[in-house]
Symmetry: C2
Subunit: 130 residues, 2 copies
Amino acid sequence: MKIREDYTCPLEIAHDIMKGKWKPIILFQLQREPVSLSALERSIAGISQKMLLEQLKELQAFGLVDKHAFDGYPLRVEYSLTPDRGRRMLEAVRIMQQIGVDIMVEQGQTDFLDAKGIAYSKDGCPQKSG
Amino acid sequence: MKIREDYTCPLEIAHDIMKGKWKPIILFQLQREPVSLSALERSIAGISQKMLLEQLKELQAFGLVDKHAFDGYPLRVEYSLTPDRGRRMLEAVRIMQQIGVDIMVEQGQTDFLDAKGIAYSKDGCPQKSG
DNA sequence: CAGCATCCGATCTGATACTG
DNA sequence: CAGTATCAGATCGGATGCTG
């Protein structure tokens, strides 16, 4: 995957980086630690492997995500946020996430809040299994 | 326009708020002051009136944008960011924009930077006319 | 100036089956 | 476990013409 070199507007790049249903969620899920493809797939409800791989590739191309492949069997791979660009974009994702939380609370949906009404369970998104 | 009330994930809402090619650009253009529809249209290169109106409506529905209509002829309307949600989302947009700037600089595109190499001309996006 | 409706091609995304 | 290929339906977005 190669990045266009004829962008004329920074926000056009930003859109290409973040577009689609899954990118912000993927970045959000990578915030704690490097994770395997299958772990990522399990942590994101509803995503197909095709979309996950495709979006991860784009994030890698733009320098937000790193991939580390280990030799041997079974195959093992770990994805992580890059310290600079990935972490910075995570800040933007956090803001968006918080606004989403606000709206859910405003709608009376407080299920995902903890006892103190501050933090939210897991990452605030439904997980695949237990 | 009515907002879904069955969201299960804050980032799902965030995506609905920001999805599409134009929302971040519109928020960015609204940061300085309230503007009319036609001014907005002029300041965003390539957007159609249909998309502009449609996206503004969605941003209003989610509480990021306010609209103020004045009586009399010619018709006059002003759009602005809401002080809370709109301004907060603008922070996320700024982060995304800055990452876009970084990538453009990395690609050797420095045309839009000012003499000091820090700020960028206009809003960093091409404008319609002069 | 502000706003709406329709048509239609481009793009995105999910399901499914297959490879190393 | 990690990753690829293909096909079909859904969604997105641009052009255009019309109303108050």
